[in-house]
Symmetry: C2
Amino acid sequence: MRYSQLFAKTSKTAPHDADSANARLLVQGGYTSQLAAGIYTYLPLGLRVLDKIKNVIREEMNALGAQEVLMPALTPKEPWTTTGRWDEIDVLFKLEGHGGKEYALGSTHEEIVTPLVQQFVKSYKDLPTSVYQIQDKFRNEPRAKSGLLRGREFSMKDMYSFHLTEADFEEYYERAKEAYFNVYRRCGLEALIVEASGGAFSKFSHEFQVLTESGEDLVFHCTCGFAQNKEIAEVKEGDTCPKCGEGTIKADKAIEVGNIFPLKSRFTDAFDFKVAGPDGKPQSVLMGCYGIGPSRVMGTIVEVHHDDKGIVWPRGAAPFDIHVVSIGGKDPDKVLAAAEELVKDIEGCGLEVLWDDRDAPPGEKFADADLIGIPLRLIVSEKTLAKDAVEWKERGSEKTDLLPKNDLLDAVRAWVGLRVA
Amino acid sequence: MRYSQLFAKTSKTAPHDADSANARLLVQGGYTSQLAAGIYTYLPLGLRVLDKIKNVIREEMNALGAQEVLMPALTPKEPWTTTGRWDEIDVLFKLEGHGGKEYALGSTHEEIVTPLVQQFVKSYKDLPTSVYQIQDKFRNEPRAKSGLLRGREFSMKDMYSFHLTEADFEEYYERAKEAYFNVYRRCGLEALIVEASGGAFSKFSHEFQVLTESGEDLVFHCTCGFAQNKEIAEVKEGDTCPKCGEGTIKADKAIEVGNIFPLKSRFTDAFDFKVAGPDGKPQSVLMGCYGIGPSRVMGTIVEVHHDDKGIVWPRGAAPFDIHVVSIGGKDPDKVLAAAEELVKDIEGCGLEVLWDDRDAPPGEKFADADLIGIPLRLIVSEKTLAKDAVEWKERGSEKTDLLPKNDLLDAVRAWVGLRVA
């Protein structure tokens, strides 16, 4: 992709109301545009990042054996009254259609998925089963804030699993935890698994929290793996860890990037979703739910991976693999031709390239590349061409290497391979 | 994919309220599940089809040079009042959030895209530009009907182009027509381009109509290419064609599967979106919009391509390339092992296979395969194994061929290649 042709460019000025690094840097980098509080448009660069994160999640959910479906956002009132949540969920957007028909915009989909799965699960032999969707959700937030972290419309991967026995549920729940860690690792995030409230019907649920100063949650944790969120914490900072008996509890701010929840039969009972067990007797179906918000993951990555110049994307979430910057000179056409050839060669390896082909000063191009934050930058100029080489610079590092063009494709392949692994 | 593990299966009984072939067959085939009038869940098979159609559209829009963005569904009232359409669009779903803030669910996105593009287009040198999104839209339909054809929530690809001159707009508009024809051809639809009303600000717009008895539109057309919809028709059935002067006008029912619209400066003027032209004088930006609904295309394909047994998917929209049916016998394990090997070999060629691996009577499997409607079926049984062969049956044809296993992969590759071309 030629940067000159890219729709939506970087901006030197920060939005006046940006209350967080992601709100500021995603707009300045040309990734998002704010339409209203908590409501964003994804520009071409931003949609590329969002889709990469969605695909990482999709691959990990498919590997778990879950199957993708797509439920509507516009949902009728009836199933919400069946579970009692029409009045219980205070952030539910409600609206009325022709004939006084009442709807809610889905902020979660237990009310939709439970009767859906009930349609198709007729016997214990059809269990376990799990489905997920990646779809936009809506929350009537009193105060949207922090860019993509707390929005009124946001993308969500919500998975729901259905089981005959507690043991089967627990086995799946553990496997889901591993899948979640895979997602975060591939997106360049280190997440802690943290005990959280299980609501009225389960002892615990679990949150995945990324420690960062800009987080609005507070996590009490020990190096042994013990971690609780502040709502349920039985410890305070400096306490000896109740789990390992050795470590000292630390308290850190964090962003919640996912949660998984044992729902027991809270929703299946509401819809009278029972199956005949092996003994012929009707049994409540047990259920779990598992959420990750791709847009929130995107915002969190920016909170964690940026410097004073802009975003520093981890490889798995970058909009392009490589940013080629060509620097004109006395013979700009010669440099452009060499850069074009380089871009073709790299794209021929199956890699994605953003090429800054503009007629602009080097300083402006480098500042834009810093804002955009693609992890690997290759610079082509008269100086490098004279040495039959290319400058290699990794985002976030001050070091620049001169690499012979002959070695370049192998080096790029190895680098991308390393970062993917 | 093993059919035994697929979430959501076929159903022998038609939904009681199905008012159209697509409403009935998509539910019976296990593609969709109706949540409320005009609101559907896409089951795994249905989501595969929907995504294939979206990807065909995406490829053709990218080839036009348009760039993909993603705008929100939840949109604030202000831009709708700016254009006067808050009160003008009668199907706009309206809702209220915290603090009395009013929103509309986007039924179209001129109000959002125009100020968005205005942010980034500062000079005539930034024109032309075009962006599109593939996103769910909402319409407060008084009467949702015909399955995926007239829904309250539905997927839409909406593209918007921006131009400095009428000539530049017209050139793009013609190229967009070709891209649209490519989409329909690849989805197995024959579309007519039909003149339609241009509203208050343009002489004509154009609709793409697929002739079929189940359509709710009426198109007057001649073999020479002349075609008008009933709202603007200056002819009646049996008239001599006013364009070629030779053909006779026919009137046929049709489904609208897309429309393209010269918007002139209707929306850009409302937002005072002007650029300085080459002469330095401010000039109104001209705009076009271009819509195709992937879910409506999906419904239309089913209306056109089905028989009394079920759907007959065209290759470009089928959920899988090939349906392998294994038929047990005296030694079912032997047949299953052979089928598994066959499936692996075909998947090794990069093709997608649905394998009916159930322990079920052949008649049931064939009836389900007919309902599902994958275009090519391969049958493995003790009878075919004894001849070291596989039965080859194309959906919609009564003919079955016996094909030696050695020739199979070449034949499958050639068949898929043929259907794609």
